[in-house]
């Protein structure tokens, strides 16, 4: 940005946002606005779950077994106190879904953050160091990329189960899951960042930094990293949806979050047992919540990718 630019636009962040392409394409796409609102509402519900949920499904004094398996309020036998019905233990479905989404999102964000840190670090080192370091790291990435992430996550999960003492599975399930998903998703970041670093490191500002004798680590973190973050954000958004699906899938398969503090996937697994006896709401509502959440995040991700990449327009 030149000096004239600064004098012409003194209004600050808001005005710049108003003029940006990103904001323009956002305002002109109703689907994206709906998706953004949905995402916002679900994030807010998840964050403020203890204040928003009508019941606390994990407080045993509030749960009554006599309320078990009540249908949604608009069906015969439903109660207004439990708008989406109750599960087999008398827990309010709406509340368990809000708390479940909280756990699903938490796992999603944590594992994407882990994958991002590993991937960006590997990509920076690989692209900047070059030579055999680059070759070895990228070969590992290639081999891992040829296997589906879900398989790798399952495997890491299995290994963790073997290594950890038997009794601690449930307590550590969250960390195991985050590690498993994080380790199976890093490759995309690494490859993208490496590509950008290969371009950036030839540029003059990097050469200038090298000439002044700054250590490689400082150059990487302070100078190159800020210039390669754009694509990383896009990948992170798309992978958030993937991570949430993967978490739900692992939990559904019974190797994820335990039923004591269920995520959306665990809820679907629990409900699956009642599918044949007609209590469809125990499965379908958590399932619908999961699909809406993933769809909204996916639409946002697609939009961000297209908006930030002028070539695709």
């Amino acid at each position: 940005m030149t000096d004239t630019d600064r004098t012409e636009r003194p209004a600050g962040l808001l005005a710049r946002l108003d003029e940006s392409d990103l904001w323009w394409s956002f305002r002109h796409s109703p689907t994206v606005i709906v998706a953004a609102l949905t995402t916002l509402v679900m994030f807010a519900a998840a964050i403020f779950a203890p204040w928003i949920a009508p019941h606390d499904p994990f407080d045993l004094s509030q749960v009554n077994l006599l309320d078990a398996l009540l249908p949604p309020m608009w069906e015969e036998g439903g109660m207004a106190a439990f708008p989406l019905g109750t599960d087999d233990q008398g827990r309010d479905m709406l509340s368990t879904i809000i708390y479940g989404a909280r756990i699903s999102l938490f796992v999603g964000f944590a594992s994407v953050a882990l994958a991002m840190v590993i991937g960006v670090a590997v990509g920076l080192v690989s692209g900047y160091a070059g030579g055999w370091v680059d070759t070895v790291l990228m070969r590992i990435a290639d081999v891992q990329l040829s296997f589906p992430a879900i398989l790798i996550a399952l495997l890491i999960d299995g290994v963790a189960r073997g290594l950890l003492p038997r009794g601690s599975h449930d307590a550590l399930a969250f960390y195991v899951l985050v590690t498993a998903i994080g380790l199976s998703f890093w490759v995309q970041y690494a490859r993208t960042v490496r590509g950008s670093v290969l371009v950036e490191r030839r540029k003059e500002y990097v050469l200038a930094a090298q000439v002044t004798g700054l250590p490689s680590l400082t150059i990487l973190v302070r100078h190159i990293l800020p210039n390669v973050t754009g694509p990383v954000l896009v990948i992170a958004t798309i992978q958030l949806a993937l991570a949430i699906i993967t978490e739900a899938t692992l939990s559904f398969l019974g190797v994820g979050i335990p039923p004591t503090s269920p995520s959306l996937g665990t809820l679907i697994r629990i409900g699956n047992d009642f599918l044949f006896s007609g209590e469809w709401w125990i499965t379908i509502f958590p399932g619908a919540a999961l699909v809406i959440l993933v769809l909204a995040v996916n639409i946002l991700g697609d939009w961000l990718r297209d908006a930030l990449n002028p070539k695709l327009r």
Binding site: V143, S146, F147, P148, I150, L151, L154, L155, D157, G158, V159, R161, G162, L163, A241, I245, A248, T249, F252, L253, G254, V255, I268, N272, L275, F276, G278, W280, T283, I284, G287, L290, V291, V294, L295, N298, I299, D302
Partner: protein, 323 residues
């Protein structure tokens, strides 16, 4: 060209060795192999003897070599959980997974490619747009939820189709097939569709993107200028060129179909490899996990190799370059 094939072969062997190393590490160091084989009242001397007999006192590199040798012959020892040879368990389950995966791969291809071509050619039509919306839904719908929805509609509400198992199977000695009985075919419908939908959405999007790219190219414009019929341009010229990258991705998709079969098999209690693997994970049955990992990797490597070689056959330009 021979050099290229040799290099790809060497790479494949290297990948398999790397996977074998992971599987071996699992087998040897995660959980104690001796503890899993003997009861609590086995004396320390007997344990030592068993350790010696199994060769667990040899240098690690010798053990690894033996592991690779055994694995090459399909010998992975005994399942901790079921006390049966892993080889036998895998052989029993393999046909179920293969029949399911191949059926869904065919469904995904024969529905996905025409849909992709259509959405590319009639880009602005209502049907094409609804296909694209549906494909975004398909990407956002987890495999297991599709299965549950199908079960709820066709299994529980309408009672048309069975919701679990393989139905009646015919034993051919070395292979069991569900293709030859009515109940076997009926049982296959829902799992195969469940597994196919996700792959199908990917194929639709891929074919559409590639086709749009090709339609913009100069040789298609030239073909138009020559006054060729649209049908000839679309199918003989554009589609043919679209298929080259599509084949690569589809080859890789076959691998992921086998992996995603884990989920489908779990939803429908389909007695295949995936169900075996999930049970092995929750029971920490290391030999089964190791064997599954090796088998799946082997299939993956084989497919990758086949795709690369197929590339040589399809695209003549590649034959000269790499030699």
């Amino acid at each position: 060209m021979i050099l290229f094939i040799l290099r790809r072969l060497a790479e494949s062997v290297f990948v398999m060795l790397a996977v074998a190393l992971i599987a071996f590490t699992l087998f040897r160091f995660v959980g104690d192999p001796i503890n899993n084989l003997v009861g609590q009242d086995t004396s320390l001397e007997e344990r030592e003897q068993l350790k010696e007999d199994l060769g667990l006192n040899d240098p690690v590199i010798v053990q690894f070599a033996r592991f690779v040798g055994d694995a090459a012959r399909g010998d992975f020892g005994y399942s901790y959980q079921m006390r049966l040879p892993v080889k036998q368990l895998i052989a029993e389950r393999f046909p179920a997974t293969m029949e399911l995966s191949m059926t869904s791969a065919l469904i995904a291809l024969f529905v996905g490619i025409p849909m992709g071509v259509y959405t590319a050619l009639r880009r602005r039509s209502l049907i094409a747009r609804s296909f694209m919306t549906a494909s975004l839904m398909g990407v956002s719908l987890p495999t297991f939820l599709i299965g549950i929805l199908l079960i709820l509609i066709f299994g529980v509400q309408l009672r048309w189709l069975p919701t679990f198992g393989r139905g009646q199977v015919v034993d051919l000695g070395w292979w069991t097939t569900g293709f030859l009985t009515l109940s076997g075919l009926k049982a296959l419908i829902m799992p195969a569709i469940t597994l196919a939908i996700f792959q199908m959405t990917l194929i639709v999007r891929l074919v559409r993107a590639e086709m749009l790219e090709v339609m913009r190219s100069d040789y298609v414009k030239f073909a138009r200028a020559r006054g060729l019929k649209p049908r000839v341009i679309n199918f003989s010229i554009a589609l043919k060129n679209t298929l080259v990258p599509v084949i690569t991705i589809i080859g890789l998709q076959v691998g992921s179909i086998i992996a995603f079969a884990i989920i489908t098999e779990s939803v429908f209690q389909w007695p295949g490899l995936g169900l075996l693997f999930i049970q092995a994970i929750s029971e920490v049955d290391i030999p089964v996990m190791a064997a599954y990992l090796m088998l799946i990797s082997f299939i993956f490597v084989l497919i990758n190799l086949a795709v690369d070689l197929l590339y040589l056959v399809i695209d003549p330009r590649l034959r000269g370059e790499t030699a």
